[in-house]
């Protein structure tokens, strides 16, 4: 096999060993980290409408709802506010002039004894 073909394969293997990306050569660490079911905790964003009615934010690109949450550190109010601001920006992009909501809630969800338990981490009003 020509050297350059071998080089492509070696590059992918090296990315795995180094745990780095030289895009488009990348490693494939998806789902590789061991987790325990009782430690699963997710963050979701809810849009608060009239009468404090809550609707889960379901963006067209669902990578956003998970990835913005992944970057969230609930103990940092600045990070939380920035995340909520990003959510509001993306909502406005999908529905320009959307007036049906007046704020964003950052909600932590866990599964305890088979039931979903939610905790509101922060509530950010829309300006």
């Amino acid at each position: 096999m020509p050297v350059f073909l071998l080089a492509i394969h070696v590059a992918v293997v090296l990315m795995t060993v180094w745990k780095r990306d030289f895009w488009p050569f990348t490693h494939y660490p998806m789902f590789s980290k061991a987790r325990k079911p009782d430690q699963v905790r997710v963050i979701r964003f809810a849009l608060i409408g009239p009468g404090d009615r809550r609707v889960w934010w379901k963006p067209e690109f669902d990578c956003y709802s998970e990835d913005i949450a992944d970057r969230l550190h609930p103990d940092s109010s600045r990070v939380v506010f920035r995340a909520a601001a990003e959510v509001m920006r993306l909502v406005e992009l999908e529905e320009p002039g959307a007036t049906a909501y007046h704020g964003v809630e950052v909600v932590e969800r866990v599964l305890q004894a088979g039931s979903t338990v939610e905790r509101v981490v922060a509530r950010v009003a829309k300006h």
Binding site: P24, Y28, M30, S32, A34
Partner: protein, 253 residues
């Protein structure tokens, strides 16, 4: 006379062209959301070269060039030139949509396949089979390196199912997570399958076991909206091309 490499090239390029065309407007909308505001700048080419954000018109133009080039390559029009145009336009278009779930890591093989088809078509099929094997083996090694054999004990898979339920309200994910045994079996099968995928290169007479398992595995992730069939799935044509070419040559139209 249908050649397996030509058949693979047509099927692969045609599938990628159709998939991109079908999702083009969605990808343009994603571009317009300025994903770099959430994720930071797109990946640097080979970790060295920062790619400037193209204007909206240029971005769409590059996408259309990519689609047209792949379609031309599939149809056999100016094959090498079309492959080259697709190769170049890939690097202008895909960095700005690489954060999309169905693009992330799944489209990375496109430029490698195009390069192989351009530079060494006579060895394209074994090279691409090798590429697929390395990707799966890499994923298996990453699991072992990060978590060791306990990755296969079912808990990690259960955790992902629970996370899927909490994030997307998928009750089927919650239902499956309740069986630790089922999760352990699935995890073990996946890990062993990934780590042993290179067997298809050494014992090609048994490759169908890994290919069929791969098809079933990737189909099973669709309900969780993990779409390997977009951009990664067309690679599987490499396993069908020799059989397909043989059949077409024995049954000419």
């Amino acid at each position: 006379m249908v050649h397996p490499v030509g058949l693979f090239s047509s099927a692969y390029c045609g599938a990628i062209a159709v998939q991109t065309a079908f999702r083009f407007s969605e990808q343009v909308r994603f571009y317009r959301t300025e994903p770099e505001r959430v994720y930071g700048p797109p990946p640097k080419l080979f970790h060295l070269i920062s790619l400037p954000r193209p204007g909206a018109g240029v971005f769409q133009g590059l996408g259309l060039i990519f689609i047209a080039s792949m379609a031309a390559a599939a149809a056999g029009f100016g094959h090498t030139v079309a492959l080259f145009a697709a190769f170049v336009s890939f690097f202008g278009y895909f960095p700005w949509i690489v954060r999309l779930g169905y693009v992330r890591r799944k489209a990375n093989q496109i430029p490698m396949v195009l390069l192989i088809l351009m530079v060494s078509p006579s060895q394209a099929l074994p090279a691409i089979e090798g590429l697929i094997s390395v990707v799966y083996f890499s994923a298996g090694i990453a699991k072992l390196a990060e978590s060791g054999p306990r990755w296969a004990n079912g808990e990690t898979f259960q955790s992902h199912l629970i996370a899927t339920y909490l994030l997307r309200d998928r009750k089927s994910a919650l239902w499956l997570s309740r069986s630790r045994t089922a999760c352990a079996v699935i995890s073990t099968v996946v890990l062993v399958w990934e780590l042993t995928f290179p067997v298809v290169l050494i014992l090609p007479q048994y490759k169908w076991i890994w290919v069929v398992t791969g098809v079933l595995f990737h189909l099973s992730t669709v309900p969780a909206r993990i779409h390997y069939w977009i951009y990664f799935g067309p690679l599987y044509f490499v396993f069908l091309a020799p059989w397909g070419a043989d059949w077409l040559n024995r049954h000419p139209w």
